[in-house]
Subunit: 413 residues, 2 copies
Amino acid sequence: MEVSVIAIGDELLIGQVVDTNSGVISREITPDGWTVRSTRAVGDNAEDIKRAITQAFEQTDVVLTTGGIGPTKDDITKQTLCDYFGGELVYDTAVEKNVLEVVAKRGLKINPLTAAQAYVPSSCSVIQNRVGTAPIMWFEKEGKVLVSMPGVPFEMKEMFTTEVFPRLKQRFQSDIAVEHRTFIVINYSESVLAGKLEKFENDLPGNIHLAYLPQPGIIRLRLTGTDTDKARLSDTLDSLSAQLDDIVGADIICKEDKTPAEILGDLLRKKALTLSTAESCTGGNIAHCITLVPGSSDYFKGSAVTYANEIKSAILNVSQADLEQHGAVSEEVVRQMAEGATATFHTDCAIATSGIAGPSGGTPDKPVGTVWMAATLGGKTVSECRRFAGNRERVINHATTIATLLLIKLLLN
Amino acid sequence: MEVSVIAIGDELLIGQVVDTNSGVISREITPDGWTVRSTRAVGDNAEDIKRAITQAFEQTDVVLTTGGIGPTKDDITKQTLCDYFGGELVYDTAVEKNVLEVVAKRGLKINPLTAAQAYVPSSCSVIQNRVGTAPIMWFEKEGKVLVSMPGVPFEMKEMFTTEVFPRLKQRFQSDIAVEHRTFIVINYSESVLAGKLEKFENDLPGNIHLAYLPQPGIIRLRLTGTDTDKARLSDTLDSLSAQLDDIVGADIICKEDKTPAEILGDLLRKKALTLSTAESCTGGNIAHCITLVPGSSDYFKGSAVTYANEIKSAILNVSQADLEQHGAVSEEVVRQMAEGATATFHTDCAIATSGIAGPSGGTPDKPVGTVWMAATLGGKTVSECRRFAGNRERVINHATTIATLLLIKLLLN
């Protein structure tokens, strides 16, 4: 089954908000064999919303909209849907009751704008929004379905996952199985990996597709297959996975779609090891990525973000002489930072970074993007220097990945 | 001038990659009075790409595409553009030369897949990609323009900003000025703020639009105006800004579109104060947000991410008795964490957090989402407990904002 997604809101078009709802919908439906055919973002403009709906229905029988249904004036989606599907806005006391409950749960009082959420098109059936005040509206027309959901990511995700998608699956049955296999590959550029996989790719059966999803420091390879026979599809993908293993197995660090921080967490939990980080240029981003993983407190003890040199000495016991002689961005310092972290935080292993994220601070010897990284485990410390391209955020993200991979490789050896 | 954006790539539709390029384009063009009319994401599918181009040209004279032009097999955009605009793929020696230079600069060798980048449609003019191997292709047809750009965010941003947009501005002149004014408002829910601004909004002139952009903890209010007379527009917006000041001035913490970390950084720099953070449940995210700001090393000294209780005592000098008596998630502990950070890092002020980000770890007394936050400045410490809704990532982000605001408010008083 294919769906189209329409995100509504001026804020999406002037770049102040990134649409993450479409991705949430995609990730939720693909394991069940559903596919997002296309996504669109349009402004709070009746003509553009109607045009987007018409074009979306030309391609798919299900259209999901997010956003544009808040209480404020710039949200005109509700009236537009009413015009499109017919009927008129009517006051719905069940919605009013739900709004009152949600508002009370937040410790707030109802006001005229929130109360106006209870007006809904007479042509829709309402799904009550348990986690917000904007009702979910389900429209049907000539066998096609449009569901209007709130734009607040947290509300959209909760209600789509628990209410909207289950009802859509009931409404439209599918007999085609879809399966994805993802492989996290390191040590390759996209084109070198594609060269190595050329024959494998040319020999793929017609119902299997290979995609390259490069990110700084890693490439996610994804095999996608479709088949009416679910078991036969799994067998085919098993066999192709084994072939991939023969070709690039040594550089595959994970066979699930996980982040480096998740892969690291799995390894640490399996080996019952504890972790700390010592971060200069990454400024806490490694710790942030690690602690985004639920349950990370099982293995993660803490991080010292040591922007100032005196703090590197005070907390991580980095030699002041080495700081003066080699500078903070040096192999000597980053190794001592990693080793100092294991001592300070009493952990089995540690990751450390020291570099120049830019845009200023570069020198001819150490230009912007130069980052020293180290990992230490059981008395063995490894280090690596890289010069990353791109802006400050990209340097931080790239260094975060490569430093995390340093420790993953130590743990895998 | 209006443009449409089309992001191409299967990875966008299965939710593995979020399209950030559209936002970069929007933010780059709006200050110059250009507008993104709509954005679309489509898969690596010739029919869908052609349909998206046709529909986009129905709305705007300029269409920008990102992605789908890498060296691997799943990228079929180039051939599709060739079919759409006519001509055939030809080998371009200037592109070959550029690819060789870029590959050499990266310390890599050319391979057949990278070399294939030199094939371009005969119907386009090429803009050489200084920072990657995929050439930028500029097509013209019946007074309309399509520019195909790479999907790698760093390459797209660099080339769009320095080459593509300047050429578009030269090609299409506009005589309508557009101006935005953004206000960062705290202490309000969206609907309460909208109620307070109802009369202001109803009285707005027809060429001025007000938008509410809520995020956890803050609401960005944006006035957007258009006028053929740039000076008149500025005067109108000045006057409206003054009215906004009269109504909600006390809760406007900034009159530019800045993040809380940027607002905090401006205040610290202006007052020549230094900052550290002590983070438990936010796991380094406050430090990460602060250090994303270029130049933050001027005022930020470091952070102690203290996931383990013994580390809270060892590094931040938190009383073990208080940890045992009140628990890590308590007012006593979070205040000592903030004060301990100023001592350990020798800073003028500090921010601290301790809470339960979930999904596990909650108790009846302290359910998931409970977070104690503190800020300290010049011997004065303030603290606040909140119970945030949503998943782990949302709790972390919300706590990051509210804790940062605590210190901002101290600095503004």
